[in-house]
């Protein structure tokens, strides 16, 4: 039992769970303060999300919606994780996501390309944004957080400007792909029928999971991952042993940007939503990716589940009874829970130090017992000491 608890993976999982529960609890308290009568119902609605529907087909359909939006979120969190392993905090993922969205929508609605070229455009655009941050970091020592945040805004207004070409004068939204660029819609692979005729469900979901596996393999099993992580842990040692540490910084931010750019493609090429060219804030997708990355213990596989959970909560927020609460409540509650998800590292630290203390106490107890019994235990201890 102790051994299991000491395993870092298990600790991450438990810490994530504690954070989720705490987040729900605080959300519930806030609901109670605003309007006690509907609080229980509302928090259950958030937690249930698609399970709130009684009909099986409806459940599947709304599960499909959640999964469709999980795919881009997962890509964003992979983007964060990839850079984080190299010691970089790629807050620019939000902007790389935006510019990726821009590129694929431009490809689809203006150039009328099919889905694969659109996707590649998104990847390239995200990669270029990542490269800008990386080059600035490697050669001019510009903090990647600062340049990332600046690029987020540049990306946003650039996108708004470019996508004006892809909309009606009367509407703030770009054309739907099904009317303006049918070829660019991601194929459904027959998943549509599985999820209650939800036309948005498609290839993006398995692709995102595939990318999670690829990121894991690259980081853990390859020479490239070995170099990138070494650079992240100790860039002086990486330089000392001849790794091209500047190249590694740029490369990791390019990869990170590609992942975030693809997130844009996975979002808008499902045609579930259209880009609003009057929007004046960077979409939350990239930032939620940060929460998903930490909730998933900075592990690509963990991120699959944490991304789904965060999207689940976000969608669940829309099921809160708006006759009782004001319209912003759904966002507030999911934001609270997501916020708490950022505390996973802290929780893990608390758990770890508690465990160590308990262990030391247990040691003390067993030692007093041992000294009563004397010989055998002391001997084994000594052997350990001489190792």
């Amino acid at each position: 039992m102790k051994k299991i608890l000491k395993n870092s993976g298990v600790q991450s999982f438990l810490a994530s769970l504690v954070c989720i529960i705490l987040g729900m609890l605080i959300g519930y308290i806030v609901l109670l303060i605003i309007e006690p009568s509907g609080a229980g119902e509302a928090i259950v609605a958030v937690a249930k999300n698609f399970l709130g529907y009684s009909k099986k087909s409806m459940q599947m359909k709304y599960l499909g919606n959640t999964l469709t939006k999980t795919a881009p979120l997962l890509m964003c969190s992979l983007s964060i994780i990839f850079a984080y392993k190299v010691g970089l905090f790629n807050i620019g993922a939000a902007g790389q996501y935006v510019i990726g969205s821009c590129a694929c929508l431009y490809g689809a609605l203006v150039l009328h390309l099919s889905w694969i070229p659109c996707m590649l455009l998104a990847a390239v655009a995200g990669g270029i944004f990542g490269a800008v941050t990386g080059i600035l970091k490697a050669y001019c020592n510009v903090n990647e957080v600062i340049s990332g945040i600046m690029l987020n805004w540049i990306g946003l207004y650039f996108t708004n400007m470019v996508l004006v070409q892809a909309k009606d004068a009367a509407s703030a939204y770009t054309y739907a792909l099904k009317s303006g660029g049918k070829a660019a819609i991601l194929p459904s692979l027959g998943l549509k029928s599985v999820f209650g005729k939800n036309q948005y469900v498609g290839i993006a979901i398995p692709l995102a999971i595939l990318f999670a596996l690829i990121v894991w393999v690259v980081l853990e099993k390859t020479k490239l991952g070995y170099e990138l992580k070494a650079t992240g842990f100790n860039k002086h040692a990486a330089k000392y042993c001849g790794m091209a540490e500047k190249r590694n910084i740029i490369l990791s931010l390019v990869c990170s940007g590609i992942l975030a750019g693809l997130a844009g493609s996975f979002m808008y090429q499902t045609d579930m939503e259209q880009w609003q060219v009057t929007i004046a804030s960077v979409p939350a997708m990239g930032f939620n990716g940060i929460a998903a990355a930490f909730l998933g213990g900075l592990n690509p596989i963990g991120a699959i589940f944490s991304s789904f959970f965060i999207q689940h909560i976000t969608d669940g927020g829309s099921h809160v009874d708006l006759n009782v609460y004001c319209a912003q409540i759904s966002e507030l509650i999911s934001a609270l829970i997501i916020y708490l998800c950022g505390f996973v590292g802290f929780m893990k630290y608390v758990m770890d130090s508690r465990l160590k203390k308990a262990e030391e106490k247990a040691m003390e107890n067993s030692n007093t017992e041992a000294s009563d019994k004397q010989v055998p235990d002391a001997e084994t201890n000594e052997k350990g000491g001489n190792k």
Binding site: T222, N234, A237, Y240, M363
Partner: protein
């Protein structure tokens, strides 16, 4: 009459899972004495001091101050009892001034506003009284290591500490600074302070300490009066066997020229001048050339220029007949240059990587460890690591999968040496390879250097330790302010003569 001690640690036992770090250890520190605590790496010195400092709670044993039993639960308790410590790695805020660092945590204030002039007066008084020269307004990052250490000492004095612990204080100092420190310690003891001096440098213990307690593998071996003992006896007590101080070696038979440096100039990062100016030297196969000098005379920059960590401002480097002036670090490494770096934590190791991953740090890209698709061959890495661990006796908790951060300094250094020597280099650049290590480990490393020489390799040793400079190399070059100011045959020179050149009093 029973003697009263400033501090007594009686029958201290501290266990960690799977290991007894301190096994029934007693240590008694008299008032006004300098008491050395001697032991190899991992003997339990640090644990014992952590117990005294309240960082660990012992399972058994008591601590007495002036004959009264006390309980030390945390460093604040220790401070209240007048116990202060200068850590081996200084605990200073780099971007603060000397004065700010001294008063850090006990800032004199009125209603939250700093009263620095008061503090300044007290610090300057202490500085005069104990002859501790400092510049109170200089920033820590700009001053020498010696002055940083004096800052740490003043920190303790400012807090009116009576019991001063010095944790391997000489590891980072130059011979001149060591002399100064010894004098300072004597002054402090004469003023009634009690000093606990942790070291494994026997000569220093013999010179400055009154008594010496020896620990070995977590056990208390004994306490001796330094006046009645010899270095040989102390070292035998410490390692449990006799250690030869003299390095045995055959005459060198230098072969062809391996390294040739012509007019190397390297710019300094710290100031505008060139740190290395017009240095020319040659190293041949089968000889050990040592660059001696006081720390901060351009050795670091010289090595960085030679190994490719910093670009040259001018000059030419030739390795085995090939011009490598503009070669990258990796190219130099592949052409046969191995480098044991000065700072093993900063450059030598990825501390959060496992031992096996660190052992392949210079070779991971070779076909033996990476397949064509770019995947690491984990099985080969493990086998290779196990081979090196066996050959070089690198000790660690969990073998190849130990996180290097958790290993002792000596074994970390052994890991680096194993990695660099197994590359089978033409030229080995070893920078202070024995820094901070105990006698046993130093002996091992010196033997390895000489074995490289005898195998026909060229060895360039950079050292601050005069004993090492005299014993190991076949030729000595003295570096002063970035220039080579003299060349000596270790058999025909003395430490005193070298000292004159190292301090700039003479030059050829």
């Amino acid at each position: 009459m029973e003697q009263t001690y400033a501090i007594e640690m009686l029958n201290i036992t501290k266990r960690f899972p799977g290991i007894i770090a301190n096994d029934n250890i007693s240590l008694q520190l008299k008032k006004g004495e300098i008491h050395a605590l001697l032991g190899e790496n991992g003997a339990g010195k640090s644990t014992l001091m952590s117990v005294l400092f309240g960082l660990y709670q012992p399972e058994e044993g008591t601590i007495k101050k002036d004959g009264k039993e006390v309980k030390i639960n945390n460093p604040n308790d220790a401070n209240d009892l007048g116990i202060g410590m200068v850590h081996q790695h200084f605990k200073l805020v780099e971007c603060f001034s000397v004065l700010d660092n001294i008063i850090l945590g006990v800032e004199p204030n009125k209603a939250g506003f700093l009263q620095k002039s008061e503090a300044r007066k007290k610090v300057m008084e202490l500085s005069d009284r104990y002859n501790l020269q400092i510049d109170p307004d200089a920033l820590i990052e700009d001053i020498t290591v010696g002055m940083q250490q004096r800052t740490e000492i003043l920190k303790m004095l400012y807090r009116d500490n009576e019991i001063l612990i010095f944790d391997e204080p000489t590891a980072v100092l130059t011979p001149q600074e060591i002399k100064e420190l010894m004098q300072i310690m004597r002054n402090l003891a004469a003023e009634g302070k009690s000093i606990l001096f942790i070291s494994h440098k026997l000569a220093e213990i013999m010179e400055v300490a009154d008594r010496c307690s020896v620990l070995r593998k977590g056990k208390y071996v004994g306490t001796v009066e330094t006046a009645n003992t010899t270095m040989e006896e102390l070292s035998a007590l410490m390692v449990g066997r006799n250690v030869s101080f003299h390095v045995d070696k055959k005459e060198s038979t230098p072969g062809k020229e391996i390294l040739s440096i012509e007019n190397m100039t390297v710019a300094s990062k710290l100031h505008k001048n060139n740190a290395v100016r017009n240095v020319s030297l040659k190293v041949r196969a089968g000889e050990i050339v040592c660059i001696a000098g006081i720390d901060g005379n351009g050795q670091t920059e010289f090595v960085h220029g030679l190994t490719g960590l910093e670009p040259l401002a001018g000059g030419k480097i030739t390795l085995c007949g090939e011009d490598i002036t503009k070669a990258t670090i990796r190219q130099r490494s592949l052409k046969g240059m191995s480098h044991i770096p000065e700072d093993r934590h900063k450059h030598g190791l990825v501390l959060d990587y496992t031992l096996e991953d660190n052992l392949v740090l210079q070779r991971y890209f070779e076909p033996e460890f990476t397949d064509k698709a770019g995947f690491l061959k984990r099985k080969n890495i493990r086998e290779y690591a196990e081979k090196l661990i066996g050959e070089f006796d690198v000790r660690s908790g969990q073998g190849p999968s130990t996180i290097v951060r958790s290993m002792s300094g000596g074994n970390q250094q052994k890991a680096i040496i194993a990695r660099e020597l197994d590359k089978d280099p033409e030229l080995l650049v070893a920078v202070q390879p024995t820094r901070g290590l105990d006698v046993g480990a130093i002996e091992f490393i010196h033997k390895q250097l000489i074995a490289q020489r005898d195998a026909g390799k060229a060895v360039l040793l950079v050292s601050l330790e005069l004993d090492e400079v005299m014993d190991v190399p076949d030729r000595i070059l003295v570096m002063y302010e970035g220039e080579i100011v003299g060349e000596f045959d270790p058999k025909k020179t003395t430490q005193e003569e070298l000292g004159l050149y190292m301090s700039g009093a003479k030059r050829m």
